[in-house]
Symmetry: C2
Subunit: 214 residues, 2 copies
Amino acid sequence: MRDVFHEELEGITVSLVEMSSMVASAMARATTALLDADLQLAEQVITADETVDLLRNEIEERAFDILARQAPVATDARVIVTTLRIVADLERMGDLALHVAKVARRRYPGKAVPPELTGTITEMGQVAQRIVAKAGSVIASRDTELAAELEADDDAMDHLHRQLFHILLEREWTHGMEAAIDITLCGRFYERYADHAVSVARRVVYLVTGEKSA
Amino acid sequence: MRDVFHEELEGITVSLVEMSSMVASAMARATTALLDADLQLAEQVITADETVDLLRNEIEERAFDILARQAPVATDARVIVTTLRIVADLERMGDLALHVAKVARRRYPGKAVPPELTGTITEMGQVAQRIVAKAGSVIASRDTELAAELEADDDAMDHLHRQLFHILLEREWTHGMEAAIDITLCGRFYERYADHAVSVARRVVYLVTGEKSA
């Protein structure tokens, strides 16, 4: 059945995929800014977050509008509400990229990431890119098998997160407390970013199957 | 106009206030567990979080049910969606209390908070109690003036958060990296807890005035 409701919903899906690209790009640039102490790039991420927030507001308004005009049945109302939650997850992912960029800016011209952690943070940035790309594909395709893959990527992120603490704790730390704090916070930002991507994928699965995963 | 829709909505409001009490109690106990290295209390908070999640699910189901049966007009649909966001904020506050309790459990029988930070963490716990109590009152009363007060409490929390970093950075830190990591994370948990309480209050203001604050 292709009616106005489903056409409008499809329009929203397109915007959600666009929003996932924006927060993917934000985290990619924030990671580079962090690793290279690139102030200009950090500032770009910080400014661009406003665009993410604007898109969020626009999608929300459209969802309210559909709820009001279409008075959708229970299932369709659930789709709209789930959509609003996906928007909230994506917006939060944008915020987390922003937080990483702010750490880069705060430490400029210094580098927030000491040499022995460059590899771990680089990998965390790569996993973040992989997981957000998949989240975007899951939104577009509603592919529940692909959605299941995000759980493994999230495990990889958790592993890197533990590795980061391991390096902070086990080796002789010579970079001072400020660097330790920044690394602790950035580690959490990447880990939460992946959590929200998993949450996006789970919500899509819920839409398709009607069942909540853990 | 007192119709079925508004009666059901009132029932949801009562549950939201109850949920705010639960996450207030969770953070109060988590703070004590953290400061006193009280394993039993920490375990209690960790177990009790399931009750918070159950209440969240129950409120959500009721909201979906209202959306489906009542086919509310635009304004009322907005109320329901905003309610769902308040539930999400409260659930997240419960999670943050849980995270604090997990730090207490991980460090047991040691104490996660060294003596020179006991005062700051105690105060952060007190501000958390003040702000969540006010958030609960704002949900119940829709008092926009009280809602404005939460911004000042949030400023107080941000101040304590900066003070915590100041102590970590400025003094001679003799408690090792693990304690520094735990304190950094706990500081963020309290700060985010207050942020979500402010978010709850702002959403209520939005319901009353139709206007989003910053």
